[in-house]
Each structure stands twice: as structure tokens, then as C-alpha cells.
Symmetry: C2
Subunit: 292 residues, 2 copies
């Protein structure tokens, strides 16, 4: 086992919070662009496939993006399979859209991504992730998601997915109360949301604050935090959150329907046991969000 | 967010498989010794408490050692609370013993750790982890665990815990068929084992081989892999395995008893939902071990 003390930036991509660092070995950089919002890069890694980073934060690798995208989409969709109109904020790599278009009863998906460079890079270099970005049900807008929900009509969506990067740069506003007040207003009465809600270990403050924010808006009992193993995110433990405007509980779903869905789609991470299990939180995480 | 390109070994401890690297920032080194077996070190980290490493592989940090130790001990113990005689191989930091001595009905714990330097460093610098290493029920032997089980009598233990480091150096023999044949022979007819069984992402080959090895010896249906979030192990996803000589299923346990146990002991990670949930495996991991 080799322990390099220095990381040549030609060979390693580093994602760090100054106390914990994840370094992923790369073969080459395939894409680099300083967009008006952020630095977008795609790398060929040594053993995790291609990888998208924004400001050097890992957004996804081909090897484990399915964990994130399948859990962000199938948990709410299997909770409420009648969803017809979906709004997605962020999601420039397209993985969330790929999972959504598996559902035939979805009629429209509106996706609002602020940075066209992310979409362009993903379309060119991450075809297995971005493959549904030209889907006929998708209306892809390059626009500010915060402004979009502010201007959106009341009661318009059955599901809103917030598939954002971390709360720095253009995503910062996606972690605020005013944004989620607009999201809430745009939801139909029996609608729900799923949200990238940060790591309780790598970003504990952002994790706690977003949980509190969602509970203030949706009500304490209607916000359900769940966990996903994402090895190529620093700390490997990541949270998503599902919240509903009505009394939909993401633990109530039809196991037989999930089983048929899994068999048809050959998913990599999600299954019925994982759907339930993800909501079991270690005691220390329960304590962080006042649920013990 | 800062992205250092080089890691001063005075400031960072690096755990790497040459493709994925975890670097943990440290304040100072508290202990260093080249024992006859390995290099043992204890560090004060910046935000994860004190940390024990062996040959620069992270063994535990004060911040998340409970995840590992609670899951390694309470899953088998709550499955079979009548356990009286326990054998522990490895476990030099003492965390496993601390969890075991919570059970009053346990009569004897025999612990066989090959490297007294690990025990000595843990006793001096990790008191919250090593606190039970002088417990009256514990017989602590500094000896070779492989040789110990080879010489041990048949049908001697109700529970054997293999709390080893990774399969390099002195722990390599703890990942072999002949070792587990001896372990099996030493188990009473209704006994069980729990085992540190590596990361399916960071050490996929060792993970798969150990799973196959255990299934050959115990029988396919009696080997149950489960997962734990351990943020300070590289990739953050780690497996443990519970196997029984009889038909004990770790999913069959008394929830009420677990609830009382949790209330009494104020655990950090383990609870009844986590006990069940840990056995839910993502599809890609099921495929790795032929369970899909």
C-alpha cells in the first residue's frame, strides 16, 4: 500500500472541507470551463468511471451516481406513483431525469438548471447519465431555479426535486427558507418533494439547518430524512430528504410494485428493503435533528 | 473551500488504495511505535477526536468508532442474548470489549490480540475506547489469534468476534479458509460469529473472497452481510458479517429488549431499526456476493 504525501493535480482530484479530504485518482481531464457561475470539469478516473466536478466538488462518478439518483427519484415516486407533473431544480448531469422517465404516467418534467455548461459537458462526456436530457416529456430551461419557483403558479406540481450542489456559489439560495416557501406554494395539496440535504458528517451545519428549515415549512412530522452510501462523496454518508404537503409517508409504498419495477429496470442501488432501510437513522444523527 | 494539492505528513494522515484516498487533518502525533508486527500510531485529529492507525490505515477515530463497535457487538448479542462465553480476535483498541461488558449475562471474554503495542497505545491515549480492557470478565492474551483458535477446544464459545485490521500484515491469516474452519470448530452448536468483512467499494476483492469463504464453511443461507456508515474509513461504506452455526437469523430479535437496552446505555449508532436496516443491501452489492 502506497501513501503519497503529495497529490499532483494532474493525477488527483481533491474534495475537501479542510479537515477531511477525499482524493480520487484520475487518468485525464476531459472537460474544463469557467462558466459565469462556477468551474465545471469532467475527468476520467482510474477506477470510478468518468466524474463531473463543480468547483472541484464531486457531483457524480459513473460508478456510484446511481445510488444518489435512484434514491432521490424512486423513494418519492414509489411513495406516490400517480405523479404527473414534476419540477426539477438543478440536475444538470441528467441522472435524475433518466430515473424519472422510467415512469410512463409522468406527463411533464420541467427542469431548471442555471448553468448550461453542466448540461453541455454531461451531454458530451457522460452519456449514460445524461441520456434522457432530450426526452420528449422534458422541458429543459437554462434559468435561475430560485427565480423560477418565485414566479411559478400555485399548486402546479405533484413532485418537486431539488438536485443541487453544495450550499456555496449559485446553489446557496437553494438552502433558504424563502426558496422553500415558494416550493411549498407551488406544490399541489397531495404533492411531495425530495431534496439533496447534505452530509451529516461532512457538512453537519448545512444538514441541520436545512432539516430545521424544511420542518418549519412542512411541519415536523412531514419531513423524513434518509441516508445513502455514496463512496465518492467525502465521508461516504449522504442525506436526502422527502417531505410531503399532505400526510404521505414515504414508508408506505407497495412492495409488489417496487419488485416489478426493479425487475423491469435492473437498478443498481434501489430496492424495497433499501427504500425502508434508508429512513433508519443512527442515534447520533437523530440527535442532530431533534428526532430522539 | 480550500483545495490543498500537497499533504504535509505533519498535518495529514493518508489512507489510500492508490485510487481513492482519505486524508484526515491532524493536530499532532501522540504515539508512534514500530512493533514487531506493524507501525502503531495515535493522532489528535482536528475534528474527529483521537485516531488510531496501523501502518497508516485508520483503525478508529473517537468520533465514529461507536458505529463499528456497536454494530459488530450488538447485532449478534441482540440476536442471541444468552451468550455466556465470547472469544474476540484482535480488538486491541478495546471498543469491542467495552460494548460486550454491557451484557451482564456474559461470563467470560477471551481476547487474543497479537500486538501489545496496540493495547498499550489505546490504554494510554484512547481511554473512552479502551475503558473495559481491565474488566474482571476479560482474559486478555497477547498472542497469535490464528494459532489460538487452532489449539482451542471444540465447542467452546457462544460467540466469536473477528475484529481485525485489513488483510495485510499480521491480519492476512484472518481472511483464510483454514482460520475459519478452526473458528467453526470452536463454536458451540447454536453459536454465531461477527466479523469485520471489509468495504465492498474500497476493498472489493477482499470483501467478495471473505464472503465466499464464510459461505463455504457455514453454508450459504447462514451468512448475513450487513453495512455500516463509517465516515473515517475510506469510501465510508463498510461491511460486517454475522454467521451462525445453527439457524439463528440476525433479523429475528426482540425489539422491546433492544429498546430497553438502548435507553439504558445511550448508544451512539445502534438501534432496532438500524439493526434491521443494515442487512438491506444495494443491488450492486447483492450482485457482488451472488445474492440477487
Amino acid at each position: 500500500m502506497n501513501h503519497p504525501a503529495s497529490f499532483d493535480p494532474e493525477e488527483w482530484v481533491i474534495d475537501s472541507n479542510d479537515r477531511t479530504t477525499l482524493a480520487i485518482k484520475i487518468k485525464e481531464r476531459l472537460f474544463y470551463e469557467k462558466s459565469p457561475y462556477q468551474t465545471v470539469e469532467v475527468f476520467e478516473t482510474c477506477d470510478r468511471g468518468k466524474m463531473l466536478t463543480i468547483d472541484r466538488m464531486v457531483m457524480c462518478t459513473e460508478a456510484d451516481e446511481t445510488s444518489y439518483h435512484e434514491m432521490l427519484v424512486h423513494v418519492p415516486m414509489q411513495t406516490k406513483p400517480e405523479v404527473k407533473n414534476v419540477l426539477v431544480i438543478g440536475a444538470g448531469d441528467g441522472g435524475t431525469i433518466r430515473e424519472l422517465v422510467r415512469y410512463e404516467n409522468i406527463e411533464t418534467i420541467t427542469m431548471v438548471e442555471i448553468d448550461e455548461a453542466v448540461v453541455r459537458a454531461s451531454k458530451e462526456f457522460l452519456p449514460t447519465i445524461s441520456c434522457a436530457l432530450n426526452h420528449p416529456k422534458l422541458k429543459l430551461l437554462i434559468d435561475d431555479g430560485i427565480k423560477f419557483v418565485k414566479d411559478a403558479a400555485d399548486n402546479s406540481y405533484d413532485l418537486i426535486i431539488i438536485d443541487s450542489s453544495d450550499p456555496v456559489g449559485p446553489s446557496e439560495g437553494l438552502f433558504t427558507k424563502s426558496f422553500y416557501q415558494d416550493v411549498y406554494r407551488c406544490l399541489r395539496p397531495d404533492a411531495l418533494i425530495s431534496v439533496q440535504s447534505e452530509s451529516p458528517v461532512f457538512n453537519p451545519q448545512a444538514f441541520k439547518e436545512l432539516n430545521q428549515c424544511l420542518k418549519k415549512i412542512f411541519g415536523k412530522e412531514k419531513v423524513h430524512c434518509y441516508l445513502v452510501f455514496i463512496p465518492m462523496y467525502p465521508s461516504g454518508i449522504w442525506s436526502l430528504t422527502c417531505a410531503s404537503k399532505s400526510d404521505l409517508n414515504p414508508l408506505d409504498f407497495n412492495r409488489d410494485r417496487v419488485l416489478k419495477f426493479i425487475q423491469k429496470h435492473s437498478l443498481s442501488y434501489y430496492n424495497a428493503d433499501i427504500h425502508i432501510s434508508a429512513f433508519a437513522l443512527p442515534n447520533y444523527i437523530k440527535r442532530m435533528i431533534g428526532e430522539e
